[in-house]
């Protein structure tokens, strides 16, 4: 197999691995997202603290996984106090 054959899904797998490093190292510092490759589709889900962080994650994913279909389901953390407490008898 030549280097030129190393394209398509294999190459996408490596890009996915590098995406994780990029998200950890970059200003977003996000390690807690679940990112998966499904053929030519990439899914990203998890929780981030702010709208800015979500936009940054979406921007980086689109950049690194360019050419693949990216689907995101990133929710914002709920910063409200709890309405109940768990009793531990």
């Amino acid at each position: 197999m030549t280097a030129a054959d190393a394209t398509g899904s294999d190459e996408a797998e490596y890009r996915l691995a590098h995406l994780r490093d990029r998200l950890a190292d970059d200003e977003v510092g996000e390690l807690g997202l679940r990112i998966e490759l499904h053929g030519s589709h990439v899914t990203v889900r998890g929780t981030v603290p702010s709208e800015e962080r979500r936009a940054a994650v979406e921007r980086i994913v689109a950049e690194v996984m360019d050419g693949l279909k990216v689907h995101t389901d990133i929710v914002l953390a709920d910063d409200r106090p709890p309405t109940w407490a768990e009793d531990l008898p």
């Binding site: 200003e27 977003v28 510092g29 996000e30 390690l31 807690g32 997202l33 679940r34 998890g46 929780t47 603290p49 702010s50 800015e52 962080r53 953390a77 709920d78 910063d79 409200r80 106090p81 709890p82 109940w84 407490a85 768990e86 009793d87 531990l88 008898p89």
Partner: protein, 243 residues
């Protein structure tokens, strides 16, 4: 009855200043102590630590924390600890502290902890120096936790809480890919908690995990990573033993 508020993995930075303060300001009505289970910052820079300090500084309840792996990323954990301390946060690492709440002495033993995996599927202190160093760090964190819990027992604490960033059990990792469990926690922490005894074990780190678990000897474990608890903090009511 003691009300323990806890949260981990808040990952604050300059753009999140003031985000959690409104919720923390309600703590005097909801809890007696606030415990922070690490990953308070994104990269552990002094600027980020200052934001955390401002969010939790001057609260009406004691604030006790451990650091997480993110808080070590910039290589300045001592500075992060100093900045948090200057805002009144007590940062534990293989150490303990006790607070008295209405006559009940509540002890908290803390360590960041580390990975290595869970019983039967864990890394051993064997082979290359890098591998030995990895597992040794995990063991030293666990040993420090056990010593700290033992110390709290000797000091006569009515309730003892183990506070870590990494997970002591795999129960609370459900939802995380099993392949990464060895990077999320270590059975050594659970062994230390069961060996010394505790009334509750709190951890963070596993954003995609679940809230509730149990050690082999029945100590309740709660994953308080903010994405898991789905609110600014969780509150647990503990009851000191009678008599």
């Amino acid at each position: 009855m003691i009300r323990v508020a806890a949260v981990g993995d808040i990952h604050l930075g300059p753009d999140s200043r003031g985000l959690l303060r409104p919720a923390f300001a309600t703590l005097d009505e909801l809890a007696d102590v606030l415990l922070l289970a690490g990953d308070l910052t994104r990269h552990g820079t002094p600027e980020e630590a200052a934001v955390v300090g401002e969010e939790v500084g001057g609260l009406p309840v004691p604030v006790i924390a451990v650091l997480g792996n993110h808080d070590y990323d910039a290589g300045r954990p001592e500075e992060v600890t100093r900045i948090l301390a200057s805002h009144g946060v007590q940062v534990l690492e293989r150490s303990s502290t006790a607070v008295r709440v209405d006559g009940t002495l509540v002890g908290v033993a803390g360590t960041k902890g580390f990975g290595g995996g869970f019983a039967g599927r864990s890394a051993g202190e064997f082979g290359e120096p890098e591998m030995k160093a990895f597992v040794r760090h995990s063991r030293e964190c666990a040993d420090g936790l056990r010593t700290a819990l033992d110390r709290l027992a000797a000091e006569g604490c009515d309730l003892r809480i183990a506070l870590t960033h990494f997970a002591p059990v795999p129960d609370t990792l459900a939802g995380e890919p099993t392949e990464i469990h060895p990077f999320l926690g270590s059975y050594l922490l659970a062994e230390a908690i069961d060996g010394a005894g505790a009334d509750l074990a709190l951890h963070g780190h596993a954003h995609l995990g679940t809230e509730r678990g149990l050690t082999a000897c029945g100590v309740r474990v709660r994953n308080v990573a903010q994405p898991v608890i789905g609110r600014a903090f969780a509150v647990y009511r503990l009851h000191p033993p009678v008599g």
